[in-house]
């Protein structure tokens, strides 16, 4: 009986420790996503709506040297993606199962679409780097605009969807 209780307590402690690590990684995932969101939005706005000169807040926001964001955005995307992939199994066990039992299909669908779009976006990163290699090359101008816009929309959608899912049922939430 004592052994069973001790074993049970050890299992609880293990679950709590694992839960803390997962929560920490989830917060890191969120912070990296914020950095990615900021960088990619800057780059997308600058390429889709370029400003000729700096002035107020809006024109200054658009007047950045967009190409300088490329490598940072790729690194942030990969890091955010990898962290998301690491914390996916606890989500699958603790959160999605609960969401499905609660028959919140639209919430589950939001996350399903996020994972598909992000995976496709991941494979676009080498091409994203290529079209930004020479930002003055007119031959890649259309591809540069579309690729940046697509990745920006993917990241914005994923950020909002992840936030909604986390609000509905955070990891190990009650």
């Amino acid at each position: 009986m004592v052994a069973q209780t001790t074993a049970g307590s050890m299992a609880d402690m293990g679950a709590k420790t694992g839960g803390c690590v997962t929560t920490f990684l989830l917060i890191m995932h969120g912070l990296l996503a914020v950095a990615l969101l900021g960088g990619l939005t800057h780059q997308a706005v600058a390429v889709l709506w370029p400003a000729r000169q700096t002035g107020g807040f809006a024109t200054s926001y658009r007047a950045v040297a967009a190409a300088r964001f490329t490598n940072a955005n790729i690194v942030f995307y990969v890091l955010t993606f990898v962290l998301g992939a690491v914390i996916y199994p606890p989500y699958r066990i603790a959160v999605r199962t609960w969401i499905e039992r609660a028959r919140l299909w639209h919430i589950s669908g939001l996350f399903e679409y996020k994972e598909q779009a992000l995976a496709i976006g991941l494979a676009m990163l080498p091409f994203f780097w290529l079209v930004w290699r020479d930002p003055k090359d007119q031959a890649t101008s259309v591809a540069r605009k579309w690729t940046t816009a697509i990745l920006c929309v993917i990241v914005w959608y994923s950020f909002i969807a992840g936030h909604i899912v986390n609000n509905v049922r955070g990891l190990f939430g009650q």
Binding site: P89, R92, A119, I120, L122, P126, I150, I154
Partner: protein, 106 residues
């Protein structure tokens, strides 16, 4: 040969292969998060949820690497259209909205 010339093709093939892998259950492997086990192909449940996402990404990457490597010699004489790198992935992303519509129409 210039490896950067197949980056657009890589993105396109990955998007198509990933989508087909998920829809037709051609995942490279499956993962059982409750037991921490991996298994080749699509696996049935072992008393818990089964994750196919990693396996579908694996299928997509293997297919994209094979096709890109096969296309590499052709980059000496021809260039692949740039729209492959964004239009095909965009089409697949739109297609996924259709595949997942039942989540939102229940």
């Amino acid at each position: 040969m210039n490896i950067t010339r197949v980056f657009g093709l890589f993105a396109a093939v990955f998007a198509v292969a990933y989508t087909i892998a998920f829809e037709w259950h051609w995942e490279l492997f499956s993962y059982h998060p409750r037991t921490g086990e991996f298994g080749w192909g699509q696996q049935p449940s072992k008393g818990g949820p089964v994750m196919h996402w990693y396996g579908a990404i694996g299928t997509g990457f293997v297919a994209a690497l094979i096709v890109s490597a096969a296309a590499l010699p052709f980059t000496r004489t021809r260039t692949f259209p740039l729209w492959l790198g964004w239009a095909i992935p965009l089409t697949c992303i739109v297609a996924w909205a259709w595949f997942l519509r039942n989540f939102f129409l229940r």
